[in-house]
């Protein structure tokens, strides 16, 4: 049981995502359907192993006598973030089998896991829940927030690809033909992410009301989640009501994702607040 613990499984899925990204990139360069299938198999494999790791970790915490969902510290949140990115990648895969999105999304999932396992300042230990986290709202709040972050990550990827295609113009027409797909897919994924982020903020507010006696306190993490929400709110309105497309939408999505990363990590590293993931 010591050898096959959850962090070991996470390391294995880290490699699967890495190879998935490599093979996706090869499929993109050589435009081979068979390679694409191999790549998605790698990612499915990594995803299954990661899912098993999350479940095992959950079970371990019960064996240790303080069972809780593995969503309570930085390590667990990074693992769940990468899991969510792959979920959203699968969701887009149903609509558009796009190799380059596959490459970048699995690479991002890889980076998150590599950071979780290799960085010195991320503890992989299973810790009990401090009193503030002992709440039924923990799961719904964290799950909806991270699924939202994952949507925004994919939208960030499609926006970067869109901008590259528009900048480079005709020269890369052969390898990136369908750039309208990036704009369209980015918008769809972002609107799902916006709903999930709203859900995350709402469950967080209800939780804060039971934990601290106020639903909103302008704590830096709360404020940054609202900043993120307003950026994507502007994005949604720009599209729905003003019909913006293309470059300006891609730019808002990129700014939005910077705000996401700041909400997730920057607030903890740079500012101080009540949300103590570290």
């Amino acid at each position: 049981m010591i050898e096959m613990n959850d962090t070991f499984l996470v390391s294995i899925s880290t490699f699967f995502y890495f190879f998935g990204a490599l093979v996706f990139f090869a499929a993109f360069v050589f435009q081979k359907r068979s390679m694409q299938n191999a790549a998605i198999l790698f990612v499915v494999g990594g995803f299954s192993i990661e899912t098993a790791a999350i479940i095992i970790r959950w079970a371990f915490s019960y064996q240790m006598g303080f069972g809780h969902a593995p969503l309570s510290n930085l390590y667990e949140s990074l693992v769940f973030f990468s899991w969510s990115v792959v979920v959203i990648l699968f969701a887009t895969w149903k609509r558009h089998r796009n190799d380059i999105i596959g490459t970048l999304a699995s690479f991002f999932a890889f980076i998150l896991l590599a950071y979780a396992s290799l960085s010195g300042n991320v503890t992989t230990q299973i810790q009990p829940l401090i009193p503030a986290l002992q709440s039924n709202w923990l799961i719904s709040h964290v799950v909806s927030s991270f699924l939202a972050y994952a949507c925004f990550a994919i939208s960030f990827i499609t926006s970067i690809l869109y901008l590259i295609r528009v900048r480079a113009g005709r020269r890369i027409e052969r390898i990136l033909p369908d750039y309208d797909v990036f704009d369209d897919l980015g918008y769809r994924i972002t609107s799902i992410g916006f709903v999930l982020l709203s859900l995350g903020i709402i469950t967080g507010a209800v939780w804060a009301d039971t934990a601290w006696g106020r639903y909103w306190g302008w704590d830096p993490k709360e404020t940054w989640s609202l900043i993120t929400w307003m950026i994507y709110g502007a994005y949604i309105h720009a599209r729905l009501a003003r019909g913006w497309k293309g470059t300006s939408m891609a730019l808002i999505s990129i700014i939005g994702f910077i705000a996401v990363i700041f909400t997730y990590l920057g607030v903890n590293y740079i500012l101080s607040g009540l949300h103590s993931y570290m």
């Binding site: 503030a132 799902i192 209800v206 934990a211 709110g233």
Partner: protein, 444 residues
């Protein structure tokens, strides 16, 4: 001029501007720590900068006049926009079953034509059923041999956006009511004592509650690894001199009485006594345990010196509780030093050939309760639920419209189809129409 202002007030351009402005300015409030007493800012930023911060109220930015103004403009923007667009949307929805001009339906994006061996009457029956299944209850217009069938479904999904907008107004209104009529403060009650005074945030104004809270006891539990597991205050509410309720308040488990919500917020040690301190003489390695109380000296084992505890602090620079100890020797100055307790100090404190260690003490705790009253909360909750309802209307339902014309041809009938749906429906509506008609018309 007025028209122009109204148009801008009700425009999405203003919405986007306000979203970006609120997002950008909110950043400042996360960079400058909010709500500290004035001197702190003077120290960090210097007096010149402070007058700038003060003018824009950046030290309490989210309650400043200009931030409130932006939120107010947002509310006006939503209201104006709703007044401008909602009547049209509602009118569109009530005009449900009607005979559409063919020139209109020809412009719809989904168009389909086929011929079938079925006669017009059979086709009419089949298509009526089909229309009901694909969209909603159909209207049938018969003109001679020609039949026109119109149906529409999910029209109410167009109300999703107005529902979201109005719920945002509810949340803003709830916030406003809370900030005017609500209050939030902190009570500190020592075990065994009773209080009805809350210190308000921000500042330290006192507010007297219409009842008293007695702290029967406070307890903190730790996990094996030293992380805190539970903070619990056992309290009794005393209203008009009578004890009316006894409750345990934990973090995430508050208690509400007469609209006042009491949450566990902090704790500390108010007093400590009966310090058990182990004293090890290094030469002989003998240990004895002394029980001390403040300012009561005891002899130091194996010497003519004596030893006393002068002071207790609940937290010495993050090391946890500590005592200030004094060694008194005839003809020598008092030797004063700290003995911290807790995890960091397992090896004890060495002094004059002795090692001192705190083994335990009897603590009297105080509990810090957050007490608040917010009459705006029900509105905010209603707003939250409606926002999610509005999202569900937008996400899970599409407005679908279907128009069909059946005309007789020599061997059966000819069907012309036009359909239209939301963007979010994608191509699924079109796919199901094509599939159904391919099946119907293949009959030969």
């Amino acid at each position: 001029m007025m028209r122009k202002i109204y148009k801008y007030t009700a425009s999405v351009r203003l919405t986007i501007f306000l979203f970006f402005t609120l997002a950008a300015t909110s950043v400042f409030g996360t960079l400058v720590t909010q709500g500290l007493p004035g001197e702190h800012y003077e120290k960090i930023y210097g007096p010149g900068m402070v007058s700038f911060l003060d003018f824009f109220e950046i030290t309490d930015m989210y309650h400043s006049w200009w931030f409130m103004l932006l939120l107010f403009l947002l509310a006006v923007n939503i209201t104006a926009c709703t007044i401008r667009t909602l009547p049209g949307t509602l009118r569109g929805m009530s005009r449900k079953n009607r005979d559409l001009e063919e020139t209109v339906t020809r412009l719809w994006p989904i168009q389909y034509v086929c011929e079938s061996a079925y006669p017009v009457e059979t086709m009419e029956q089949k298509l009526t059923l089909l229309a009901g299944r694909l969209t909603g209850k159909p209207t049938i217009i018969r003109e001679g041999e020609e039949r026109r069938i119109y149906s529409e479904g999910g029209a109410y999904s167009r109300l999703g956006a107005p529902v979201v907008h109005i719920s945002i107004l509810l949340v803003l209104a709830g916030g406003l009511i809370g900030s005017i009529m609500g209050f939030s403060g902190r009570m500190t009650i020592i075990e065994g004592e009773m209080s009805s005074i809350a210190l308000l945030f921000p500042g330290d104004k006192e507010e007297k509650l219409p009842f008293s809270v007695k702290c029967d006891g406070f307890a903190v539990q730790f996990y094996d690894n030293g992380m805190p597991k539970e903070y619990r205050s056992d309290i009794t509410i005393i209203d008009e001199g009578e004890p009316v309720a006894s409750e345990s308040i934990r973090v995430n488990d508050p208690f509400t009485y007469r609209g006042f919500k009491l949450c566990q917020a902090s704790y500390g040690i108010a007093e400590a006594s009966d310090f058990k301190i182990s004293v090890t003489e290094e030469k002989s390695a003998t240990t004895s345990i002394c029980t001390l109380n403040l300012m009561k000296k005891v002899p130091l084992p194996g010497s003519d010196k004596s030893f006393a505890v002068a002071r207790f602090v609940p937290d010495l620079q993050g090391l946890g509780p500590a005592v200030m100890a004094v060694i008194l020797a005839p003809g020598a100055p008092h030797d004063i030093f700290w003995i911290p307790s807790g995890l960091h100090q397992a090896q004890g404190t060495k002094r004059q050939g002795y090692t001192f260690k705190i083994e335990g003490f009897t603590a009297r705790y105080y509990t810090g309760l957050q007490v608040g009253k917010d009459p705006g909360v029900p509105l905010v909750w209603a707003g939250f639920v409606l926002i999610l309802g509005g999202f569900a209307m937008i996400l899970f339902k599409s407005h679908r419209r279907l128009w069909m014309k059946i005309t007789p041809v020599s061997e059966g009938s000819r069907v012309e189809v036009a359909a239209k749906t939301d963007r979010k429906d994608g191509s699924s509506f079109e796919k199901s129409i094509t599939q159904k008609f391919n099946k119907l018309c293949k009959y030969d």
